[in-house]
Subunit: 431 residues, 2 copies
């Protein structure tokens, strides 16, 4: 119980709403909140559900410590402080399993509980999903663009230090092979990787000395950074230092395609035919795709990964859709929501290709008993019941495999990098 | 000492470089690393230094616990593990004080120490600066656009839960009045604010019931959200519930300028002449500027703030510039750096308007003894000496005031929102 609480990752208005609802007797009304994206980021074909494992873990730590409560004395009244002191989420959570695809309107997460129990989770749930889904969705496109070549996630330095750990997790979920982030290695068991920085070369009297030192410390299978001075000389020095069994060279600047071809030729001439070529330096999914014909063995991706490649937040919202069994929704503008609890299924062709996302009203139930066609798959799964985590939710390895499988089912246009419509349409037969 | 360590917010290659440098005897070479931005985000006129206080605090926790070291057994050799076990930063840090402006090439932070001591801080320093500077730089433009109207930071839900706390801090530094984020309130003493969500209205049997409940719980000075159903009816219900002394109404959707005018007229007709109008809903600096002529009293800003309004990372790098008194720099490509320790001064007109950023070589010293012209101001200040924090660094209130003053000195073109060149040029007389 020494783990820090997550209760204060909350917007003030959630607690003042609880205060008012406790006072007027509506705090205990049975509510259903739904987390979903109204649309995908501009031109994207699919979204990737990510953050589920992190949210479920954070939910177990959603508590208010004595220090937290002291800080809240100026925010809410004593009755609300008492309520917060005893807070434990006792409701239910259903949702798309982590690694599943989502589309506009997909009910990615559904939280069932009293108003007060469920409304306080709004900010935490949205923070985790909006960040992690944005990163995983961008990462999946990069993995597709890399067409099987392994990718190293190395964007930690371009984002908040804790967001970096979550980004490494989302990238691994999406198929990245490794991360440079040591905290992600420790926390989630993600394989870590790394090469060397230009600083290491510059520290030494010359490039040869730096390469000899690195090989002595890390073995010949290491990756030597060859673009500090002259790349051609750098490659010659690298093979001289490590022998033709050198693991890899990394090039971090310049015209990467041209440099990769030259490096391959030179390495082959030197007998280093198995030495791999690692490219890095402002790569995004488009740059990666443009390198497909080049002799590249792996990519290091940083900035574009951790910033969601132009879409740093997923645009998820958390909306109250049902109160005491009655559908509710905002009605004043274009930002409307469909009221009522919903569930969803994905419809496939007999060949296994996805055809459409069916989001349907599930009033009075959770959709588990929905009659499914032979090629339909129900999407939400139960994750929390009465505040207790269900077994088998939240595994990162499962999520990684689930996404790999799901992407195989996407119609081929849906895997294009170019801007377009969602890969499959969302239909709302009765929602 | 129960605070969690920050040692693992580090890329793997930093530790393997330390391992190689410990083995070859270069780990103790006297090094200078410089943190700077090669350029500002596309079209931006200035950057805002932010994150200094967070970095200095994180530096005091840069340690490797037994659990951390266990996780690193597969990464580095036993000698390096021993070195990490005893790690304490014992070097010096100089830098631009938090809240100062920066321009391309400004030496925002300079870390002096042995190679091993200083290289391991690379990722942590960059993560904090790249995130916090990006947010503060965007926030400052929004504050300028708001022209004195108070701004509420409410973007927590659009970014990682810990990044949200740092974003609230950066926004406050940049002049935002309040944040919705309760953790930021507790951790940094930032004033918190909030209104109510549409969920609170929908929870109740009707809008009147919701408004009466909120006023009963929070008083007539509260802010009522009036756009759940019909805004005109919402405003009438709001004044009916709270009386003409109602604090504020919030409008979160629709044509905000038109709605603000209508709302002001209606409120005035109802005698609620002092009731404020709060606008929110996908506002960025351009939208805020476009509302300058409208009867708006304050703005709530979310997504665009926490994503840096198109520039979610500041593009800072951390480069080795000096080894044992010798300038060093990468030389293979356009991504060159200027070698050697540098300092900087800002030159002003007698009127107090900034003219240029002068980044000069400070080999053999730190620039403190640089002869200054009558309108020059030396920018870096000492922050850490021999691993010990200097007094008076890292205050958020000071940073807020510093930025306010600095923006007054920017030439008027530099405060324009439109894309253009940096507000003042950076010159490198000898660097």
């Amino acid at each position: 119980m020494s783990e820090p609480g997550t209760g204060l990752f909350t917007d003030r208005y959630e607690l003042t709403m609880v205060a008012a609802a406790l006072a007027d007797g509506t705090a205990d009304r049975a509510c259903v909140f739904e987390l979903f994206a109204r649309r995908l980021p501009d031109g994207r074909r699919y979204g990737v559900v990510a953050g589920t494992g992190r949210l479920l873990e954070a939910l177990t730590r959603f508590r208010f410590s004595p220090a937290d409560l002291a800080a809240l004395e100026s925010v809410v009244d004593p009755a609300t402080l008492d309520w917060l002191r005893d807070y434990r989420f006792t409701g239910d959570v259903d949702g798309y399993p982590e690694g599943e695809l989502y589309f506009p309107g997909s009910p990615v997460l559904t939280v069932t509980g009293t108003f007060a129990d469920a409304v306080v989770l709004e900010t935490l749930a949205l923070s985790i999903y909006n960040h992690d889904c944005a990163i995983a969705s961008a990462a999946a496109r990069m993995v597709t663009a890399a067409a099987g070549r392994p990718m190293i996630e190395m964007g930690s330095r371009r984002t908040h230090e804790e967001a970096a750990v979550a980004a490494a997790r989302a990238a691994y979920l999406a198929g990245f092979a490794t991360t440079s982030n040591l905290a992600a290695g420790q926390r989630y068991g993600i394989p870590t990787a790394g090469t060397a920085a230009h600083a290491f070369i510059l520290l030494h009297d010359d490039e040869q000395a730096a390469f000899h030192s690195q090989v002595a410390a890390l073995g010949t299978d290491t990756t030597l950074l060859v673009d500090t001075y002259d790349i051609r000389k750098g490659i010659a020095n690298a093979v001289e230092a490590a022998g033709p069994g050198l693991g890899a060279v990394r090039i971090d600047s310049g015209d990467l395609g041209e440099l990769a071809r030259q490096a391959r030729d030179q390495l082959d001439e030197l007998g280093a035919t198995n030495t791999r070529i690692v490219l890095s330096g402002d790569l995004d999914e488009y740059a990666i795709a443009s390198l497909r014909a080049e002799p590249v063995d792996s990519y290091g991706v940083g900035t574009s990964l951790v910033t969601g490649s132009g879409a740093p937040t997923a645009g998820m919202v958390y909306k109250l859709v049902e109160v005491d069994g009655r559908p509710v929704s905002k009605r004043s503008s274009a930002k409307e929501s469909r009221g009522g609890r919903k569930s969803a299924l994905r419809r496939f062709k007999p060949t296994g290709t996805a055809v459409e996302e069916v989001v349907f009203g599930a009033v009075g139930g959770r959709g588990e008993d929905t009659p499914l066609g032979p090629h339909d798959r129900l999407l939400p799964v139960p994750m929390v019941r009465g505040g207790e985590l269900m077994d088998g939710t939240g595994s990162l390895a499962d999520a990684r495999e689930r996404l790999r499988t799901a992407l195989v089912s996407v119609p081929w246009e849906g895997l294009k990098l170019s801007r377009g419509e969602p890969a499959i349409p969302t239909v709302f037969p009765n929602a």
